[in-house]
């Protein structure tokens, strides 16, 4: 039986990806943020998960508003690195896991999550920023297979906070019903507070971000009970994407322990990282 061994949260801002490509891990203004990845990199290196389910959003790169899916699961064995308008990042194609992904597709649809199934899905910064930060030695390929699930957080109505939490719970059931002796982590991405449009551009709320991080550990049910409007008011319209972290948290058991948290928000966005470990985690 496959098992979930941990959950990780990360922002996905393209500026972080650019820093990584420039080798800017120690750049003074961003050192507090980039150092936040080190314990996560060490944990992943020690535990070597076979696969990572990546909860992310596409930024109108692989999907356009002509036909826009609410949840889209990739079953591809490989994902191209997208050109978002500035040339593609110098990253190798992102290896998937078709067997796990097709299993998830069946299990989730049977669990009443009717996803769009994608066989050719280039990945943009929503996916590439977190994985290139978690696995910094990616030049020759990715050590862990990535199974991306894209969530609509851009065109309203977006799925409710509780729906994301339930997606995580369904993902746990789905993984645990996969008859393979494999280890899986779940990645929640985006946020935290920020707004990138309108006169409210630049809105941040560090108090709310810290409250979110605390409740994510101690009372995720409270976060699932909030409305989309609450997330927009407290964390900005684009920051409302932080509900994607609820899918990561929903996939964890009550026994998961928080090992690490970090926060740094000096510019447009309140950036945070978090690492949860399951009792099922063993050093590989």
């Amino acid at each position: 039986m496959a098992r979930i061994i941990g959950g990780l949260g990360s922002p996905h801002a393209p500026s972080i990806g650019a820093l990584i490509d420039q080798g800017g891990w120690d750049q003074p203004e961003w050192k507090k943020l980039m150092d936040g990845y080190r314990p996560m990199q060490d944990w992943l290196e020690a535990h070597k998960p076979d696969a990572a389910i990546l909860i992310y959003n596409d930024h109108v790169t692989s999907f356009f508003f002509d036909r826009y899916p609410t949840f889209a699961l990739s079953v591809a064995s490989e994902h191209p690195v997208a050109d978002e308008g500035f040339g593609p990042r110098p990253l190798p194609p992102v290896r998937g896991d078709s067997d796990l992904a097709w299993h998830l597709a069946h299990a989730l649809v049977e669990d009443e999550f009717d996803l769009t199934i994608c066989q050719d899905m280039p990945l943009d910064h929503g996916a590439l920023t977190p994985i290139s930060a978690f696995w910094p030695n990616h030049a020759n390929g990715w050590p862990t297979a990535i199974v991306p699930i894209a969530v609509n957080v851009l065109q309203f109505p977006v799925p409710t906070p509780r729906r994301l939490y339930k997606l995580g719970q369904a993902l746990r059931r789905a993984v645990e019903s996969w008859p393979q002796d494999k280890t899986v982590v779940v990645l929640g991405t985006g946020g935290l507070s920020h707004q990138l449009h309108g006169e409210r551009f630049g809105f941040r709320n560090a108090d709310w971000d810290h409250e979110f991080l605390s409740l994510l550990e101690t009372d995720p049910e409270a976060l699932a009970s909030l409305r989309t409007q609450d997330y927009i008011e407290r964390g900005g319209a684009e920051g409302a994407e932080m509900v994607m972290w609820l899918a990561m948290r929903g996939a964890l058991s009550g026994e998961a322990r928080k090992l690490h948290v970090n926060y740094h928000g000096p510019l447009h966005t309140g950036f945070a990282q978090i690492l949860f470990e399951e009792p099922a985690a063993v050093i590989a």
Binding site: G85, F86, G87, G198, E199, R227, T228, P266, L267, H268
Partner: protein
């Protein structure tokens, strides 16, 4: 049923991508979306009017693009993520695009932040 959004009580300066504004903005969004193709970026730089003609934009949208009026485009329904392809092609980075939407200069906006640059 709990309603997730109160359209009348959104924070000031927030324009949700939904409803008739989203329908109206489809063609502007498509132009911006297609800028992920290098050939379209080159076409815009060579002759923006010709590229806009291909997308059958309304006169108001064409004028907003000529004016580099990012706030106006967002208020007409354009989504910020494809729009950033256009604004950055026109030389406004994320911070510069945002500063304009706030009604500030780039320097004024960055002065409100702890870190410089973007």
């Amino acid at each position: 049923m709990v309603r997730q959004i109160d359209p009348e009580r959104l924070p000031a300066g927030t324009y949700l991508n939904t409803g008739q504004a989203a329908n109206r903005a489809l063609r502007v969004n498509r132009l911006c979306y297609d800028l992920k193709e290098p050939a379209n970026r080159a076409a815009f730089e060579a002759d923006p009017e010709a590229l806009m003609a291909r997308y059958d934009l309304e006169p108001e949208d064409r004028q907003l693009i000529r004016d580099r009026d990012w706030l106006g485009l967002v208020q007409r329904g354009a989504n910020v993520f494809p729009l950033l392809r256009l604004s950055q092609l026109c030389g406004d980075g994320l911070a510069g695009t945002g500063a304009q939407m706030r009604g500030e200069t780039l320097e004024q906006y960055l002065a409100t932040r702890q870190a410089k640059g973007s």
